[in-house]
């Protein structure tokens, strides 16, 4: 039983990402979507917190949301994997349940 957590808010505006990371168990997955993808950026005031979980949880970001926000050329968190919409569906199928942090 491992959860797929989704975060759709910017970590600079809301605490959703912190709230999620504090509760995501090792072995679970965190997928950043919509404004949540700003949390995928490396070298920001928010990046240490998410980076520290690399290896214990799987980190994903939705590619189309990354591209829309102009982040495709920026360095992203180590270990974070970009996925497309089909990959999103695969993750939903793979994990036992989805927890959305809004």
């Amino acid at each position: 039983m491992a959860l797929l957590h989704t975060v759709n808010k910017s970590p600079f505006e809301r605490n959703s990402l912190s709230d999620c990371l504090r509760r995501a168990k090792n072995g679970s997955a965190v997928l950043l979507i919509e404004d949540g993808v700003y949390g995928a950026l490396q070298g920001t005031s928010a990046s240490d917190e998410i980076s520290s979980r690399d290896g214990s949880i799987k980190l994903y970001a939705l590619g189309p949301d990354v591209d829309a926000r102009g982040l495709s050329e920026k360095p992203l968190i180590d270990g974070l994997e970009l996925i497309d919409y089909a990959g999103f569906v695969d993750l939903v199928e793979e994990y036992s349940s989805v927890q959305s942090w809004l």
Binding site: S10, F12, E13, Y38, T44, P64, D67, A68, G70
Partner: protein, 128 residues
């Protein structure tokens, strides 16, 4: 009784303060509309990007994958709309790992304290 407001020729100093990321909410696009309208009424306008608002002018936005309109090129047209000056806040850029080279338009970078000073000199501040 009908009052007659004679506003012809009245020119005020407007400051538009953008503090939201571009696609998660409608605020960024709506402020852009307001800037265009203020220009139509020949008002004096400056624009500031602070907090997540600095993401509005991030270059390389490519929105075809999310079926939304990429309105970032519109910021390049602001010069033609009598927008006097565009500012971005230093602390906001730094916290987000951004620099001037990441932006779609040239801006003047101000500290948070300088943004505050600028706010003090306006007739009207529109902030979203």
């Amino acid at each position: 009784m009908e009052e007659d407001f004679d506003t012809a020729g009245v020119k005020k100093k407007f400051m538009f303060v953008n503090s939201k990321a571009p696609y998660g909410t409608i605020y960024a696009l709506e402020v852009l509309e307001m800037i265009m309208i203020s220009a139509a009424f020949e008002q004096h306008a400056v624009i500031a990007f602070i907090d997540d608002g600095v993401f509005q002018i991030k270059k390389d936005q490519e929105t075809s994958g999310v079926n939304m309109k990429n309105f970032s090129p519109t910021y390049r047209a602001l010069e033609g709309y009598e927008v006097e000056k565009v500012y971005a806040e230093k602390e906001s850029l730094e916290a987000r790992g951004l620099s001037e080279e990441d932006l779609v338009i040239p801006v003047e970078i101000l500290s948070a304290a300088e943004i505050s000073e600028l706010m003090d000199t306006q007739d009207m501040i529109v902030s979203f």
